[in-house]
Symmetry: C3
């Protein structure tokens, strides 16, 4: 699509007329990508982006590499949301036969979109729906009634338990305007995901579950999260959008994070911990707002003394 | 069913023998409805009800409009529970062809109860189950493996993501006696519901998701809740039965409410907030029990000082 | 399988060569069972086990009944995990016709593993998957899109709502080694389970939901839990592995427990309560860590005074 046509859609003028093939985050954008900037946490990505064009506020335009076209907006998030409707996916009721590699087996009642590939010796059980262009690696087991939306990728030696939904829309609205979720979910090798989890597709780019991560049941992974290698996520955890977990992070049951933050390698978040800002690795945290767990325990003890003193 | 037959079922005598066609809340009852009164929060509904008959305690009988028949009970909730078994729905293994309006499309593997109507250009994807008498509006997309129980109504321009269950039984037991859930769920226009949510049908009347509301994933909406127009409910929120949200309410991730309370228009409940009583609109609340968020922050700060002082 | 072959798999020497037919908990083990001991909470089970052989640390071996073979290990949990891979279940894409007792009805789109038995007048609705060797009692209703994994048992007069997953793997990993979940789930008579719950199969033995228990929606029951008779579990509760609830326990919405603990008969855990140690029955608890609820309320009040005094 021509940049000029996109600009027309959001009532902007364009200085250039390059061809835009996709929408992308600043970090992942290439010269045929359109991106946007609205959150100062990503300022370094703005300075180094390879995007062909970026929607951003006038005051941020000087930071943009000069190869990129600046599309000035008073509300970049809202204007980008409007653009996503031009690139949105069209779901369908139709089903197709998948490509089965050697030894792959699929239940008769499983349904597949277009261009699905199932890897060697992998198993898709009854009642699953695997959407358009999904690729599933080798030796992977998908238990009954799992749904994997279009364009997602699942690695080798993975196990996904029943009722889990991978690639549903992230929760993105610019006021009442839907930010169509253009990205996907990438699940790397040796990942195990429990039952009835929801792993949202990225707004742009990928939500990523890195190799060896283990997820329990009823877990919510927001759009654009990145779960580090060999991380362990216990039941009912909720990660808001764009949470980045390092390697070997452990999140206890019902713990949660606010969005757009990083948790360092091997950090442990105790059960129920509510993380509100980025945390260093190699430490244990608890409470809400989460602090180092020793401090949280002291707070609880102090409160108890306060009651008893009375 | 004759009121006398209903009364016989719960070992009561009847002064009248009107025809009862349905069970209803005091507010929604008509003259062919039987209702009950057991929670003083609904005393105004009692005084103005149009019900043909009401099960209630002897001391509350004087408040009942004189057109209505009073059925005196020491335990109205338990007796009404017993009555619900006379009106309970009988589920079935059978499936039928739905009525498809112009441009409606349904996957081969989707299953339908009796008398289902799918609106213009709407799409029902693989593995969905749409129960008896469900009506789905125009331009609505239902992603794979969604279940919508009998008698529910879904509006125009809605999106419902995979694994979400609409119209399952509310959690109602009078001790060990099941209160059969006779009501339904009504989802109005322009609503978006994420993956693996559960929206319970009303005990009597309707659980309502009003127009423009947006729900994220893994959310629990109890029976008889009302979600106000354009409200935003983030992931893993839990609303107990009969919670009434005003317009434009925002509930952060993992927040929750106790039952039978109201939250005013445009109130914001921060992530994890636990609401235990009705709250005024246009304010921000947090903590558990939820208070105005500035107060909650002061409480956290005071606790921190207490630890450091030591 | 010969004990010697099992020992070879984990690089141990065996003093005996008995036939091992199954893996079991210390309590449930018989003389053809192999068990293991790694958590001091189960020391009484160790002293009285009827297991044919037990993997345990050298210092614990003297406590083992002399009829049992001791297999000495520096890491019994990890070695047992390795053994579970020899007994793991092989899932399949194939489906079979179930045995239907008189009056049983199943939807055409429901799928069944081998040797499934559906009791009298029971109903299996559209899109369910019922795994190998599952037995379902009489007069039980399974709503659409429920999944019940292999070897689980469901009693009489039960109701299971849509999207619930019974018998998915418990969350068990010895570091990066999967502890295959060999056990099952047993749901006794008159149990009602809401929508989108996850009830994990036992690592060894059974996860048990006892008669008359009522579960709401989106509840997580970890492996080897035992839910006492007539207990009531409200929405979004999470029970960690090996939680034992007594009779008539009530757990409020979003409450939770740490693992390997007991809650006494008729205890009430208020909404959001987070139980971190075993609790006596006949009392009400709240807060996190959960304490008697009067104490928790005093703690909240003290904190409030602290803020106001300032």
């Amino acid at each position: 699509m021509k940049l000029s046509d996109i600009c027309k859609h959001i009532n902007k003028e364009c200085k250039s007329d390059i061809e835009i093939k996709n929408l992308a985050t600043l970090k992942e954008a290439k010269k045929d990508s359109l991106s946007f900037f609205h959150n100062s946490k990503y300022i370094n990505d703005l300075k180094t982006t390879k995007a062909g064009a970026v929607i951003l506020k006038e005051e941020d335009a000087p930071l943009l590499p000069k190869e990129a076209v600046a599309i000035i907006s008073q509300n970049p998030y809202e204007d980008m949301a409007k653009v996503t409707s031009l690139f949105k996916y069209t779901p369908s009721e139709k089903t197709y036969n998948p490509t089965l590699k050697e030894g792959a087996r699929v239940a008769n009642s499983a349904n597949f979109g277009k261009n699905v590939v199932i890897g060697k010796n992998s198993l898709i059980m009854a009642g699953c729906y695997i959407g358009d262009n999904v690729e599933i690696g080798d030796n992977t087991i998908i238990y009954p009634n799992v749904v994997i939306y279009h364009n997602c990728k699942i690695g080798n030696n993975c196990t996904i338990h029943s009722g889990t939904i991978i690639g549903s829309d992230g929760f993105g609205f610019a006021q009442t305007i839907k930010f169509y979720q253009i990205g996907n979910v990438v699940v790397e090798d040796n990942v195990e995901i429990g039952a009835n989890c929801t792993i949202d597709r990225a707004a742009l780019g990928s939500t990523t579950i890195k190799k060896g991560a283990k997820l329990d049941n009823l877990i919510q992974i927001g759009h654009n999260c990145e779960i580090g290698e060999y991380s362990i996520i216990v039941s009912q955890v909720g990660l808001s959008g764009s949470t980045i977990l390092g390697k070997g992070v452990i999140m206890g049951g019902q713990s949660a994070t606010a969005g757009h933050l990083k948790i360092g390698d091997r950090a442990i978040i105790a059960a129920r911990g509510g993380v509100t800002k980025s945390l260093e690795g190699d430490k244990t945290y608890g409470g809400f707002p989460a602090v180092e767990i020793r401090l949280w325990r002291k707070m609880q003890a102090a409160l108890m003394r306060l009651v008893k003193r009375k």
